[in-house]
């Protein structure tokens, strides 16, 4: 590794490895460090209820990164992400659940164990579906994965010993690390501890995804996305890499699912069946489109924005008095919230197809070339 930095020219690369480094410029290194420090200090500055929302955003970001690996990097549109999230959620609660409780459980409370277990089980589900999915292209794939959500939602609702059944649900896993239960408030509140916990998991999986993106696998994904037949001709094994994309994405979805309900402590199969399951899938699509396709940082930004939407729309009535908070009057905040997913998807695709990342990119380029705007 003989890459010499030239003094005064920080962006002159003399080796490919420099160009492809994990964080290839000094501002990125400093910037990411500052953001992580800021995020770590956030629980000290923000009220617990907002912290809970942001924590959910961090968990959703893990799932969004997973979908971005499949849809953004490898170009395979999936509307079935909610199914794999559900597999993860139920695997985690099964592993961590009380063996003598109303629903199935193994009693493995050690958090990393059930997080990985959920990821692996979702990945296996992904590997089972993948052989069918790799045969299909484009919109056929989108509809088939949508079917997966419908079928999966039915199975989870019916499998009452696992899911607790309709209108009842079951308890979510309780994260215990080194004997400390993170959901019990002590010196720090439950929300603070969970936020830190989610942040650590997200940082680990975001780094992993970034590394996948700049590896051989990541390059193969891009080739498959840009023109799969051309990629095949060049010697990229299409079946293999589509399979890898599916399995990786499902693994991330499983991890996301295992943590998604930890803060609430309880969840029902309704979250994954019928309209709600599809809405969850669409929310993940919205996250990566709003955040930025094929970027890890974009996935995180998009997930945080989507997670904050309910909060934003609940604040709306004080600014726009014609919106009510009563569920039986129209337009109410719940309708506004749902409609905003749609409006945001349409608006970003029409006006800023590269998403929040694209906006940030434009600002960056503007200041980099300041005062020359071209």
């Amino acid at each position: 590794m003989s890459h010499t930095r030239v003094k005064g020219r920080p962006e002159l690369y003399t080796a490919y490895a420099q160009d492809m480094a994990f964080l290839n410029t000094r501002p990125k290194q400093v910037g990411v460090l500052l953001i992580v420090i800021f995020a770590a200090l956030l629980p000290m500055m923000v009220a617990d209820d907002l912290l809970k929302v942001l924590g959910t955003g961090l968990v959703l970001a893990i799932g969004a990164i997973g979908l971005n690996l499949l849809t953004g990097f490898a170009g395979q549109v999936s509307l079935g992400h909610a199914f794999f999230v559900a597999v993860g959620a139920y695997t985690a609660s099964w592993m961590a659940g009380d063996p003598d409780g109303r629903t199935m459980g193994l009693g493995i409370t050690f958090a990393p164990a059930w997080i990985l277990g959920a990821g692996v089980m979702a990945a296996i589900a992904g590997a089972i579906v993948a052989p069918l999915a790799v045969r299909l292209r484009g919109l056929y794939l989108a509809v088939v994965t949508l079917g997966l959500v419908i079928i999966g939602g039915f199975i989870f609702t019916e499998w009452a010993s696992l899911s607790g059944g309709a209108q009842q649900g079951r308890e979510a896993p309780v994260p215990v690390i080194l004997g400390a239960d993170l959901t019990v408030s002590g010196a720090y509140t439950k929300e603070q501890k969970l936020f830190w916990f989610f942040l650590v998991v997200l940082v680990i999986f975001a780094m992993l995804a970034r590394n996948i993106g700049r590896s051989k696998i990541g390059r193969a994904f891009s080739a498959v996305r840009d023109r799969d037949i051309a990629a095949g001709v060049m010697g990229v094994e299409l079946t293999k890499y589509k399979l890898i994309a599916f399995v990786l994405s499902s693994f991330y979805a499983g991890v996301c699912g295992s943590l998604l309900f930890v803060a609430n402590g309880y969840f029902g199969p309704e979250r994954f069946s019928g309209g709600f399951g599809l809405l969850l899938s669409v929310q993940f699509i919205a996250m990566i489109l709003i955040g930025g396709v094929a970027t890890v940082s974009g996935s995180i930004m998009g997930a945080l924005l989507i997670a904050l939407l309910p909060r934003i729309s609940s604040e709306l009535p004080s600014f726009l008095p014609f919106i009510t908070t009563a569920a039986n009057k129209h337009p109410n905040v719940f309708e506004v919230e749902t409609a905003m997913y749609g409006v945001l998807i349409i608006a970003f695709l029409l006006f800023e197809p590269r998403g929040l990342f694209g906006i940030w990119h434009r600002i960056r380029v503007y200041w980099k070339s300041f005062p020359f705007s071209y």
Partner: protein
Amino acid sequence: MTELLSALSMGLGQGAIYTLLALGFVIIYKSMGVISFAQPALMMSGAILVSYLSPKLGFWAAVILGGLLIAVVALIVERLAIRPMVGKAVFVIAIITIGVDIVVRVVAGAFVGTDPRVVGDPWGIERWTIGGVHIEHRHAAAFIAAAVMVALVAAFFRFTPIGLAMRAAALDQEAAMAQGVSVGVVFAVSWAMAGFLAAIAGVFAAAGNPLDQNLWIIGLAALPVIILGGLDSLLGAVVGGLTIGVVEALVRNYHTDIFPGIATNTGPLAPYVVMLLVLLVRPYGLFGTKEVERV
């Protein structure tokens, strides 16, 4: 045997609704190469609109007017949200239609209200009984309506200049433009037709029951239909629609015999399972054109 025939008649009625919806999907797909996920929402809003119009205008006038109004809604959607994206990746346009679906569904859903609404159809749940075989009026009506609409759509493509232009644009968009076909008009007409068909399907899907948001779930089942029939085949839409309708009705009817352990009826799952099974064997559906790709 009579039970089987009753289930069949129900399945054909349901299948006719799927056929109407699937026709709209296929017409849009043929003109722009995109699946419009907004169809289920347009279908639901069609039924809701008709439920408001029919007490004032009578059922039949309300159906026609409602269908035309939904066609106008589809036109507006196409002009505002879809047309600017022409030439972009099809998946991006498809995702936009998902966004449109959400917005339309929320707006339409706000008009459902808390009181039960009906579309005011003359059939209700009355039925003929011929030798023990039950045939519900609404299913027969849906079947006849679908047959009429299929014939009209086929005649439209066969005999009108714009129909010819649409077939040309579906075959090769650039060549059609070079021959003077206005592709913009083709897009607009296909969306309007799809909107009209969706609204009609919505009325028949809602006939005999009070309206609710679940209508949208029925509309969703048209997706497996078009995948089964093949995305670009009108014949596929008809065959696929009737097949899915019949299979669903049979599974619904014989559910307790086939799966005695499962409490919830497995009928609504049948379309998706059939779709998966068929795709294992034929990735482009029964009648879909196999894509030939050049690098």
